[in-house]
């Protein structure tokens, strides 16, 4: 093991002038103040047994506490798994069983409310029985939504993260030292984590978290400073912001990623604020892959410095020297030095610009969060009260199901709430007396057919 396995985090993220404005969450946090918090959280983690080469799972809402604990764990030289605080108990338990972290960090107390931009949390670190030290040199572990089968364990090394920070550094239009980034994207997922938090710390740009995720509060956060400001979020946030508002002097641009931008959005955003809506394309496995920060090339994006892309059988592939997956071997996602994105794309041979066309598997995006419809369907079909089910997506997730004799919709809803995080659950459960079938006898997945079957139901079905 390296002499100081946590040195990468100290050097790239923590070092700097203690007086630098670093974060804003209800008030300013300087680099020096953050360093003190990190020192304190390091003590907390070490008391729970975290050592260099150890493993920790962090499940905290977006908060100053989350930032301090994450940096402390990395500085210790540990391998960190990040779990979304919205996951339900069963999902968390499954993740913990797979990851077997030695130390688990959760919130002892949380003060938050719906639509807050950040929470006040107090962390608790516990030793988990049966925890295993890191078996690989990776420092960051995240779970994907699996397109077939269980979710994938995605792992990145310190070198991977530093390389991505290097790509951000080379993007001329990305926020620089002394500027501000209003962060709307989740810091547990790659966009908010690397594009927001790590880049801000590394480059010296202040990370501002609005009090609430409403248009008014976000605009107020932008207007509260004088330095050039970039808003970082998902397309939903850009749509939210374009319903009103007008020129905001500190705003330099907004950058969104996470799902395809609707065609009318960039022009409407620029018409409202007079600045570009930039887009980025990336994956948890690789981080930022391609960008169009000026909006000049919309809807196409240009490969980020160092990224090598190609299209095979309509699918976008990204060069990657080693597989980002650990545990289950799935040679359909990474093979021979290429990562399969599962996105359909085309590349303009003359310019190298990439246009993302859509998804090739059953993964959809809800406000930037990835949901695998096959996973939702499998969970539904496995429930005791359910005879058969189909999950369809047409802007929202809808489920059509046939109940067993003793099955009840309320029971199904309760079971789903236990097994799936809220953003993955079908918005509506429509009960059918029988699944409509195609001419060959397969269950129909045609939206019109399913809807018609649901509407033909007798009264009394919810």
């Amino acid at each position: 093991m390296a002499e100081n396995p946590g040195e990468w985090a100290s050097g790239a993220l923590l070092d700097g002038d203690p007086g630098d404005p670093c974060l804003w969450m209800g008030g300013p946090v300087t680099r020096g103040e953050l360093a003190s918090l990190v020192d304190a959280r390091q003590g907390l983690l070490e008391s729970a047994g975290l050592r260099p080469g150890g493993t920790a799972a962090i499940r905290l809402p977006p908060s100053l506490e989350y930032v301090a604990v994450l940096l402390a764990a990395w500085r210790i030289g540990a391998q960190v798994s990040l779990l979304d605080h919205r996951l339900v108990r069963r999902e968390v338990d499954n993740a913990m069983d797979r990851l077997a972290p030695q130390v688990v960090v959760t919130a002892d107390s949380v003060a938050t409310a719906p639509m807050m931009g950040y929470a006040q949390a107090v962390a608790r670190a516990q030793t988990r029985p049966g925890g295993r030290p890191a078996a690989t040199p990776h420092v960051l572990i995240q779970l994907s939504s699996g397109s077939t089968g269980p979710s994938k364990v995605i792992a990145r090394t310190a070198a991977d993260l530093l390389a991505e920070l290097g790509r951000y550094e080379q993007l001329e239009e990305y926020p620089r030292r002394g500027e501000r980034i209003v962060v709307l994207a989740s810091m547990v997922h790659v966009l908010g984590l690397v594009g927001g938090l790590l880049h801000g710390l590394h480059a010296g740009a202040e990370l501002v978290f609005p009090d609430r995720l409403t248009a008014m509060s976000i605009r107020a956060a932008v207007a509260a400073g004088t330095e050039p400001t970039t808003v970082l979020g998902v397309p939903f946030h850009a749509e939210l912001l374009t319903t009103g508002g007008g020129p905001l002097p500190p705003l330099r641009r907004m950058v969104v990623a996470g799902e395809l931008v609707r065609p009318w959005l960039p022009a409407r955003f620029t018409a409202t604020y007079g600045v570009p809506l930039g887009t980025m394309y990336g994956m948890t496995e690789l981080g930022v892959i391609a960008t169009d920060l000026s909006g000049r090339n919309a809807p196409a994006v240009a490969p980020a410095p160092g990224m090598s892309l190609r299209v095979a059988d309509g699918e976008l592939l990204a060069a990657m020297p080693a597989s980002p997956y650990i545990g289950l071997i799935d040679d359909t996602r990474w093979a021979d030095g290429w990562l399969h994105t599962r996105d359909a794309a085309s590349i303009d041979q003359a310019t190298g610009l990439v246009t993302i066309l859509g998804r090739l598997d059953s993964q959809i995006s809800v406000g930037g969060l990835k949901v695998d419809l096959t996973e939702v369907e499998q969970v539904l079909c496995a429930l005791p009260g359910v005879d058969s089910a189909v999950v369809a997506y047409d802007g929202t997730i809808e489920a059509y199901l046939v109940l067993r004799e003793d099955g009840q919709v309320s029971g199904v809803e309760a079971a789903l709430a236990e097994q799936l995080a809220p953003f993955k659950r079908p918005r509506r459960l429509r009960v059918l007396s029988a699944m409509p079938r195609t001419a060959t006898g397969k269950v129909s997945r045609d939206h019109a057919v399913l809807r018609a079957a649901a509407e033909a139901q007798p009264a009394g079905t919810p």
Binding site: A113, T214, M216, E239, T243, R262, V366, T396, R427
Partner: protein
């Protein structure tokens, strides 16, 4: 309220279903606060009542009336 939800994603009012997703709720709250120049004090209990259009309308009206009286 339906008109506000319909505007999210440019839908026709009859395309808006009774159930509200969390994204739609964020949209609704953001819009209402802007139009009425107020802040809705939402907690988890209020949120639970706002999972349908009818529930959202009732809860928001209560809050706006409360704000007017306060």
């Amino acid at each position: 309220m339906v008109a506000i939800l319909a505007a999210m994603g440019d839908r026709a009012p009859d395309e808006v279903s009774e159930e509200i997703s969390s994204l739609e709720l964020a949209w609704l709250v953001s819009q209402v606060e802007e139009r009425y120049d107020t802040t809705l004090e939402l907690d988890d209990a209020a949120l639970a009542r706002m999972m349908t259009v009818s529930g959202a309308v009732a809860t928001i009206h209560q809050m706006l009336e409360g704000a007017a009286d306060g």
